[in-house]
Amino acid sequence: MNTPKISAGQLFALIILFVFGTAIAVNYGLDAKKDAWIAILLGTFSGCLLFMLFSYLYRQYPDLTLTCYTQRIMGKYVGWLLGMIFVLYFIYDAARDVRDAGELLNTSVYDATPIFVLNAVMLLAIAYVLDKGLYVLARLSEIFIVIIAASGIVGSILVFASRIIDLNNLLPVLEYGWKPILTTTYPSTFIFPFGEMLCFSMLFPLLKNPELQLKTGLLAIVLSGLALSYTIAIDIAVLGADISSRSIFALLTMVSKVNIADFLQRLDPIALFTMLIVDFFKIAMLYYAAVIGTADLFQVKPSRKLVVPVGCVILITSMSITGSFNEHLLEGKLSISNFQLMVVVGIPLLLAAVHLIRKYIGKGQSVDP
């Protein structure tokens, strides 16, 4: 390893930006109406548990990426197959997020611009960053986390200052009981975005201080979960549960209501670009995981050779994934409760189980197959 490693602070920034990713724009939590913020808190909590599972697996093989230790645990062929599933999942997920960004731009400002161009430009910029190396992305995240935090704080102040918050919109809490909250949390707000953090298993071996991994990760998840929940609560308090759950990008609609002294108003493009920045990092992480995974599976070295090919695959996938945005959202919900759930929860659980069984059976003899 002769590239600079990822420090704990960089991991923290990456996780926060990743979790914000599309979650802050496309909010599946709003299926729980007024109580979306509770659903997100629940999701955060379960996300922490899931992250602990990923960390457990990582600590068994501190020098290996997800796709590598899958092959160690499950044997060469099954492991390779599972690794391939992971890679496909990363590509699929990255493509979804690219599409999200494209649709976000398309519906808000760039209605005449083909989504293909919007997506292609985004992926080119990401490819440029990844081509420079993950450490560049990590450093970039340190700069942008400040920008995002600042815009979050300033945005909150503006929203409060324009006195559009009506907390009555959040009442009564639990109007429809726990059921809608639970069905939204499992799997929607749980997998999206916390389950997707599986891709971080691909960069854990690059950490500078592996012992801080769990602590940093959990702290970042909890913080970003709180922030997400806060954001969605503000959305609802401003717009009411009805408008926010019907709007595709609730945050955008919410910010467009900000008006201070008739001068500071129409800030939604700024919110839009904040969303794009966080989405950028999410796509970049998934993209990176896909590149490294492919390199592992097909023994390509150096892996940066794959940046452009994988990018093309993501671009094409993002275009062919759905025909319309409605279909895209629907497919998202479907895939979260089936395919994604299986990949990010099912397979890691299986891996952990097999690993434990091997450890007990293999006591006395060497653990490595």
Binding site: D131, P172, S247
Partner: protein, 402 residues
């Protein structure tokens, strides 16, 4: 290998440059729409939609920019079944592409309002240019088109004038509410609340208001004025609330910022004025024996600013008497508003919503026939008033010195 990042950068630039500028619109090809008016053509399913478009060169602050050749705005109108159809149709009349992101006011003609406005706002939510913060008004006794066409003094753009009048009448006089599209949508969707929309009238001769001559006079021939509140039930306008009823409604919506209140002096016919400075309304709903009980309590503060009679304000009980009188009058206003709404069986005040907030289970039971229940509800209004000061003087000069 080493040069690849640079290559990528160039690729990015080339893609971008070749991609052209699909969404780029030059300002000189855009017409800024400042207000939209929607009317119903009688006896058809067609809307008549009018756009108030700004002529930038008229509003230029530039000295040599000229101006005075045309009016500051132009109104284009066309008919069609949907709003979007008309937006596109208007390109036949307007020389530039209409830009909707700066629409300040949406004016709805009264006939249309009476027929129903429920389906009107959908496109405002969907299109990316239109904004939910557009203020909504109902044109009273006039079509929206004529309202949009009236040229106004001081504010060159009539939409700004309307928005300003609405804003200041809502905050200084409190007979209006400043509701935007999303407020209306929320009220339309809610089971426990119905919308009210402020009314706008043309005072004077509407035909003469549409010429530049209107603002060349010190007393314009036609003036746009805010008046009354339109009360809606299930998206259809029921009646106008004016005066006391309108004030009571604004009270109940807890939107009162400041106002002027007139009270009668003790025995004489004279009156005194109080500047309302703070008002807080809280509503409580409970169900007793299947009948809702609406409890309203108001706390208000104000200053005595004008007095046409000689009350000795140095005596505490005189002031307390005034406070009491004020409370009584407020209770009367509010009760009048509730009575008016009950008569139409429309809960425009959101009593249903407060029941939902405080007693969710009960609300679910009564939600279906809430309107009927509301009509036969029991009312209890309470007001606490405080006159905090009496301006720069305590005694009036009309008061005889002993």
């Amino acid at each position: 290998m080493k040069r690849k990042p640079i290559l990528l950068l160039w690729l990015l630039l080339i893609v971008v440059v070749l991609s052209g500028c699909w969404n780029s619109k030059e300002l000189s090809h855009l017409a800024i729409v400042s207000a939209i008016g929607v009317d119903k053509l009688p006896d058809t399913a067609h809307y008549r939609i009018s756009f108030q478009v700004v002529n930038p060169s008229e509003i230029s602050s530039d000295v040599q920019g000229g101006g005075g050749k045309t009016t500051a705005i132009t109104v284009f109108a066309d008919n069609g079944k949907t709003l979007f159809e008309v937006i596109r149709k208007a390109s036949r009349k307007a020389p530039r592409e209409l830009l909707f992101s700066h629409v300040k006011v949406l004016v709805i003609g009264e006939p249309l309002a009476r027929e129903g406005i429920t389906e009107l706002f959908d496109t405002f939510e969907r299109l990316n240019q239109t904004r939910l913060t557009t203020k909504v008004l109902v044109a009273r006794n006039a079509t929206a088109e004529t309202v949009l066409g009236v040229v106004t003094p001081m504010e060159e753009i009539p939409a700004d004038a309307m928005a300003g009048k609405l804003q200041f009448s809502a905050s200084l006089w409190s007979e209006n509410v400043e509701y935007t599209i999303d407020d209306i949508i929320r009220a339309l969707v809610s089971m426990g609340k119905e919308p009210v929309i402020s009314g706008v009238v043309i005072q004077g001769e509407p035909e003469r208001g549409a010429t530049q001559a209107n603002v060349r006079r010190t007393t314009p021939d036609a003036t746009i004025m805010m008046r009354g509140l339109a009360m809606f039930k299930e998206g259809k306008m029921q009646r106008w609330l004016d005066g006391v009823e309108a004030r009571g409604t604004v009270r109940l919506l807890d939107k009162v910022k400041s106002s002027a209140v007139e009270l009668e002096c003790a025995e004489e016919k004279n009156v005194l004025s109080i500047e309302l400075t703070r008002s807080k309304t809280s509503k409580k709903v409970s169900i007793h024996n299947g009948r809702p009980k609406l409890e309203v309590s108001i706390i208000q503060e104000g200053n005595l600013v004008e007095m046409k009679c000689a009350i000795d304000l140095t005596r505490m009980h005189e002031l307390m008497k005034l406070e009491k009188k004020w409370s009584q009058q407020t209770v009367k206003d509010v009760t009048a508003a509730i009575q008016a709404a009950r008569k139409q069986q429309v809960d425009i005040f959101g009593f249903g919503e407060s029941l939902n907030r405080s007693n969710n289970k009960e609300w679910k039971r009564v939600v279906k026939d809430w309107d009927a229940l509301f009509a036969q509800s029991e009312i209890q209004v309470k007001a606490d008033s405080f006159i905090r000061n009496t301006g720069n003087r305590i005694k009036s000069y009309m008061q005889q010195q002993p």
